[in-house]
């Protein structure tokens, strides 16, 4: 096992080193595409980290992404960059903690409803604050961050997310979450503090999403609530994670990469009907691939090797 782990980490490090050279290619279009790919990979993986094992569908990706982006818009010129990122992460964690503590003690539906409205709620609060207190609606982001800087930060975050996800999956917390996903009543009877486990993981996942929003913010020079809190992000991330298969750490990547490329193509070709096409793709995935590409792989590998891992897919 340890030899396998060593092999995997060597492979991952090599891939990381190779990917770090993308900005050196000097092609602005490929760099922009690579940034989109990394952005959605991190978001979808972070989404899957919480929603995969617990099976609680979170629709609030945009809310956290927007909190991160808006933090940069407000503080970007006042504080040094690392402090801005830290503040954004802390804000995201606080919001997630509040939402988690108030809804995750209850049944999953309330959590879904709350996350469904969270984006709109935070957006309204931000607009209210900007109109009444700070008296500016829409802010310019002037920070000294290049596209290559954004790319490297996202790459580092991607590596961190995968490492974190791998560590969590091996820890007691990860095991507790899998038990909760299978049967919450059983988990409680085993002495698992279900609320703590759920809130902790939700907070971690939301903090990562907030960081992505903060890192991406310098890409726009102008930010207003409708840009930062665009509900399409929640939807796209959800599609990607589901296509890949959220029950595996590496699943969402399998959805994020092809779909980012596809969306790039579609939004350029069919700007008016993009939403409809997106909805149809999503429905297809829900009906045809309920366990995602990862589930498909598992099915194929069990069929060929005949092992009893089918239990997972059942």
């Amino acid at each position: 096992m340890s030899a396998r782990i060593a092999g995997f980490s060597a492979l991952a490090l090599a891939a990381l080193a190779l990917l770090a050279f993308v900005p050196r290619l000097g092609n602005a279009y490929y760099l922009a595409l690579a940034i989109s790919l990394l952005q959605y990979t991190v978001l979808a993986t972070a989404w899957g980290m919480f929603s995969g094992p617990t099976r609680y569908v979170s629709l609030a990706t945009t809310a956290f992404f927007g909190v991160g982006a808006y933090t940069v818009a407000v503080l970007g010129e006042i504080l040094p960059w690392p402090l801005v990122l830290l503040t954004a992460a802390a804000l995201g964690a606080i919001v997630a903690g509040i939402v988690g503590l108030s809804t995750l003690r209850l049944s999953g539906v309330y959590f879904v409803i709350f996350t469904f409205g969270l984006t709109e709620l935070i957006r309204q609060l931000v607009v209210w604050f900007e109109v009444n207190k700070s008296r500016v609606l829409g802010r310019y982001v002037f920070v000294n961050i290049t596209q290559a800087d954004i790319y490297w930060q996202l790459l580092a975050l991607t590596a961190a997310v995968f490492l974190l996800g791998w560590l969590i999956a091996r820890s007691r917390l990860g095991f507790a979450l899998r038990v909760i996903g299978e049967d919450e009543t059983v988990a409680k009877h085993c002495g698992i503090n279900t609320t703590f486990a759920k809130v902790a993981l939700f907070t971690i996942s939301a903090t990562v999403m907030t960081l992505v929003g903060a890192i991406m913010a310098p890409r726009w020079t102008y930010i207003e609530p409708s840009i930062a809190f665009n509900s399409m992000i929640s939807f796209q991330v959800l599609i990607m994670a589901l296509l890949g298969g959220a029950h595996r750490l590496w699943g969402p990547v399998l959805g994020a990469v092809p779909l980012t490329l596809l969306f790039e193509l579609l939004s350029a070709r069919f700007p008016n009907t993009f939403t409809i096409i997106l909805g149809c793709i999503f429905l297809l995935i829900v009906y045809m691939l309920p366990r995602g590409v990862a589930g498909l792989f598992e099915k194929l590998s069990t069929r060929t090797s005949g092992k009893t891992a089918q239990r997972v897919a059942a």
Binding site: S107, V112, L238, L283
Partner: protein, 289 residues
């Protein structure tokens, strides 16, 4: 003060009407319909189109839109949702699947409406004259809408409690498995109830369109308010729906007139959380699960 309360009651009546359909869909057919508000907006557009294009009064429009919505929702349940119901091993799995499917549907419907009507706000002038009511001046269209809402609510309540079909529907809501044992066709009852919920939200859409401006992307807000009212009142409970709807409308109107109109959504959520923290099953719900 009277004016704020009256506005709140009218708003609350509308919320109760909007939520009634969802409480049927979720409480009986067990479909958590996130595209619910889109159907409301679609009906509002239909009414707008009938009124401005053919000068059809919205009351006549109800007779066209509501049966159409019933048929459409019946088809959606039969074609789109029945596979999910068959596939789901238990209620929780169906909940997750229906949330995902209807979330996708939201974007399909919203995208279609955006493509057809664009992102602009629509409204039309119907019964837009002031009348005196309880010593306050209110708009005639809002008052009429409230009247029709009360009628619809009473009719639904009577149908559910006084008829054989209504009793069957309530039995399915309590326990879909046991309902089969007393010879109730559960899939059929679920499909019809889902369609009835769709018809109700279409009626709400037509009524709302007479006094509110709406756009292709405003469905989400209605979905959210309906969800909040349903959960607050207790899933599948008509009386809870009414009380929670009125409470929501009143609190919104009071906050809008005394604190700040920009904070209404925050008040909705605060109320929602407060109820959940005190009584997780909702005001009138029984803690069965």
């Amino acid at each position: 003060m009277t004016n704020a309360i009256l506005t709140g009651l009218m708003l609350g009546g509308m919320y109760a009407l909007i939520a009634m359909g969802l409480t049927l869909q979720y409480g009986v057919a067990r479909i958590m319909n996130l595209s619910y508000g889109e159907f409301l907006i679609a009906a509002a557009f239909a009414s707008h189109w009938l009124f401005t294009g053919w000068a059809v009064s919205p009351f006549l429009g109800l007779a066209v839109v509501v049966p159409l919505a019933f048929a459409l929702n019946f088809a959606i349940y039969k074609i789109l949702l029945t596979p999910l119901v068959r596939r789901a091993p238990n209620r929780d799995a169906l909940e997750v699947d229906s949330i995902l499917a209807t979330f996708g549907l939201t974007f399909v419907i919203q995208g279609s409406m955006l493509a057809l009507f664009g992102g602009a706000y629509y409204s039309y002038s119907f019964l837009a004259f002031p009348v005196q009511f309880l010593g306050e001046t209110v708009a005639a269209n809002r008052l009429t809408a409230l009247g029709i809402t009360i009628l619809l609510g009473l009719a639904l309540y009577a149908a559910l409690t006084r008829t054989r079909a209504g009793t069957a529907v309530r039995a399915v809501a309590v326990d879909p498995f046991a309902a089969q044992l007393v010879a109730i066709n559960v899939p059929q009852a679920s499909a019809l109830t889902f369609a009835l919920g769709g018809a109700l939200v279409a009626a709400a859409g037509v009524l709302v369109s007479t006094f509110l401006t709406f756009s292709a992307s405003s469905g989400v807000v209605f979905t959210m308010k309906a969800l909040i009212v349903v959960v607050m009142g207790g899933v599948g409970n008509m009386l809870g729906c009414l009380v929670a709807g009125l409470a929501l409308g009143l609190s919104e109107a009071l906050v809008a007139s005394y604190v700040d109109p920009g904070l209404t959504l925050a008040v909705n959520f605060a109320l929602f959380l407060a109820v959940l923290l005190v009584k997780p099953a909702g005001l009138f719900g029984r803690a069965t699960r």
